[in-house]
Symmetry: C2
Subunit: 119 residues, 2 copies
């Protein structure tokens, strides 16, 4: 049998009312996209580990690299990602750059996630 365009549920939806109602309640596509982009940042073990480390206070790039056991370059790339998403902030002191968490949202998001996986 060959596939049609959208054979799913035919033209008459099973619950067209529900679909229309929900459609009206959904955030804008752009918002949902941004939200997914945010969570994508948390969706990498190196970055999550960096964020968890920064919960304990500020650290310089090379300290983080030691902790993660990855290249300084890799850490630097990831810190740029975190910085761009406003999840971390930094201050320069001579040659050294110290990174720290930008705000408490990071903590809360991490906590909620941790709760879910630990139940």
């Amino acid at each position: 049998m060959e596939q049609r365009d959208l054979p799913c549920c035919e033209e008459n939806l099973i619950h067209s009312d529900a679909v229309e109602r929900v459609r009206g309640l959904l955030p804008r596509d752009e918002t949902l996209y941004d939200l997914a982009e945010l969570f994508k940042i948390f969706g990498d073990s190196t970055r999550v580990k960096i964020l968890y480390a920064l919960l304990e206070g500020e650290l310089c790039v090379c300290d983080i690299a030691k902790l993660m056991e990855v290249t300084q370059s890799a850490v630097s790339h990831q810190l740029r990602v975190l910085k761009t998403s406003k999840l971390v902030k930094f201050r320069r002191e001579g040659k050294t750059v110290y990174y720290s968490l930008a705000d408490e949202h990071v903590t809360r998001i991490l906590s909620q996630g941790m709760e879910h996986i630990q139940e």
Copy 2:
């Protein structure tokens, strides 16, 4: 100049004390990995959209497909991912399968993320 193994911060760390302290406080690598895996699930706009839709109540696969404007197959694949991570649950009613959110963690995680991007 050629690159050495780990020229970063030489052997004597800048803050070896801080590094060691934080190392002791970090969750296990496996836990951090699982956490990243969880957030990865939220890190896709299709899945986030599905989860937001389910905030309003249960929906069948084909309704979700209509809402997302993607293939029934794509939705089904994503629902499997969400199901595996215990973010959604389902019940069967005849030919139709209804999906709904598994618990309130989903709601909380979405809320925290939304707060961050909207500030």
